[in-house]
């Protein structure tokens, strides 16, 4: 019995860490998306490009020898600024438009940014990773990647800070109010623009944090790297429950766990189909619980 645990134990722990760290990245991205969706009904496909902007900023700074302690805050800041610009230029003129219109607009912004990336930074750029990225730590019989622990820890810390912000600060409360009822929030005298800009900035900040994790793991940045993460984040938001920030986090972790579990559990022949199975699980979740894992059952419409 003990032998079984000794053998499977480390494996399970490693997989658990894998699931948590993958889930963390998804949760951060999903949260960024959910923030904009809950407040203004915008599904921002260009969120993936915010991620890539973070990556390019990282690359550019490291190329010029900027030390890591400076790289980190700038990588968080750049996507936030880009997001604010996005709001001002592309989305403010469409304030109040239908979901479909906003979705298509975000698609257009995404394509625009991807093309710009292609033109100015066509090939994939390699990122110089600091030496501690590959470090592993031996905890008893377990070997765990330091990076993944740091990622998971930072994500949880971010979630905590975000929760405090949303519950304790007036701006945070205003954002939650706007997510429920934008019109009445304006009736309270809260400036609509302030809330929207704050939402975009936060969404960009979260994308920046996600990009720190994402690109230190992958090691390179390409113009199209944002597409797959944003699709996954989109899915995570929906399975968590649209319009719910907690749901986005839950959905992100759920997706991460599902992927890791399937990856580990599927027989070798079915491995390449792993994502397809995960997607089937997603569809199943939607069918059984259309309001998402965390959402409240919706009425007749």
């Amino acid at each position: 019995m003990m032998a079984v645990i000794a053998v499977t134990g480390p494996y399970l722990v490693q997989q658990a860490i894998n699931a948590l760290s993958l889930g963390s990245t998804y949760a951060l991205l999903a949260l960024g998306l959910a923030m904009l969706f809950s407040i203004m009904g915008l599904i921002n496909f260009a969120h993936g490009e915010l991620l890539v902007i973070g990556g390019y900023v990282m690359w550019a700074l490291l190329e010029h020898g900027v030390p890591w302690p400076a790289v980190i805050p700038l990588t968080l800041l750049a996507p936030a600024l880009a997001a604010i610009a996005m709001e001002r230029i592309a989305f403010r003129p469409l304030r109040g438009a239908s979901l479909v219109t906003l979705l298509i607009a975000s698609f257009a912004v995404s394509l625009l940014l991807q093309t710009v990336f292609q033109i100015f930074a066509g090939t994939d750029k390699g990122i110089e990773l600091p030496s501690w990225v590959d470090d592993v730590v031996d905890v008893g019989p377990y070997t765990i990647s330091v990076l993944k622990i740091v990622m998971t820890g930072l994500t949880l810390l971010t979630l905590l800070l975000l929760t405090l912000f949303l519950k304790r600060t007036l701006l945070g409360i205003a954002m939650r109010a706007a997510a429920e009822d934008f019109e009445v929030t304006r009736l309270m005298g809260v400036r609509a623009n302030a809330v929207v800009i704050a939402a975009f900035a936060l969404s960009g900040l979260l994308a920046g944090l996600a990009s720190l994790f994402y690109f230190t793991q992958s090691g390179s940045v390409g113009p199209f790297d944002g597409t797959e993460p944003v699709v996954k984040a989109f899915i995570a938001v929906v399975i968590g429950g649209l319009g719910s920030l907690t749901g986005a986090v839950v959905g992100g972790f759920a997706l991460g766990i599902t992927e890791v579990v399937l990856d580990a559990a599927l027989p070798a022949g079915a491995q390449p189909f792993g994502t397809a199975f995960a997607l089937l699980v997603v569809i199943a979740i939607l069918l059984l619980r259309p309001q998402g894992l965390v959402g409240r059952p919706v009425g007749l419409t």
Binding site: I173, E183, V190
Partner: protein
Amino acid sequence: MAPLLEVRRLIARYGPITAVREADLAVNEGEIVALLGANGAGKTSTLGAISGLVARSGEIRLDGREISKLRPEQIVRRGVSLTPEGRRVFAGLTVAENLAIGGAVRRAGAGEQRERLLELFPVLAQRLHAPARTLSGGEQQQLAIARSLMSRPRLLLLDEPTLGLAPKLVALVFELIGRLRAEEGVTVLLVEQNVHRALDLCDRAYVMRTGRIEVEGTPDELRRTTRIEDAYLGIVA
């Protein structure tokens, strides 16, 4: 003395539909004015237009200054607060958070205002940290009104505050409105379906039908004429 609120030739539109056609009304400081009429008469739209939520044209003056071109957030800052129809409290936020949002516009002294309101609405003090969705209809109505009062408005617009409430709560709400005027000096423009009680409480009233003001006068004058029934097409509370 000039009225606190003066509305002239107000037109309110929802796209191609005109909900209010050339309405004139005035509210003097310290008054409780009722806006009556059947469903669809344009009462809610009138309040919405004054608050800036509905596309409008015409003159709307608060303290003699034009507010008809301002955005809702700006109008609140000028001292007009709307408690919308159906209460529309923030269901996922706690009572305290709802009040906090109400006071976002007037941060200075918000603490004292909150204390005063919690005295006026003791049930809110008891449920201070409960999510608003767990409150009963009557409690939510009180929360909605309290939330509007957090910004210490000079003019309070109330849209059907007794809608869907049990008779005992209806009485409570009307009593509350009276106290607000007496103790807080709030001027009130009240939209109501409950004609009888509204006439008991108000100083003056307007009756609307299909977007126009049909009748105006004091409660006594209105009770004497039969045009209220006409305006309501036979339905009188």
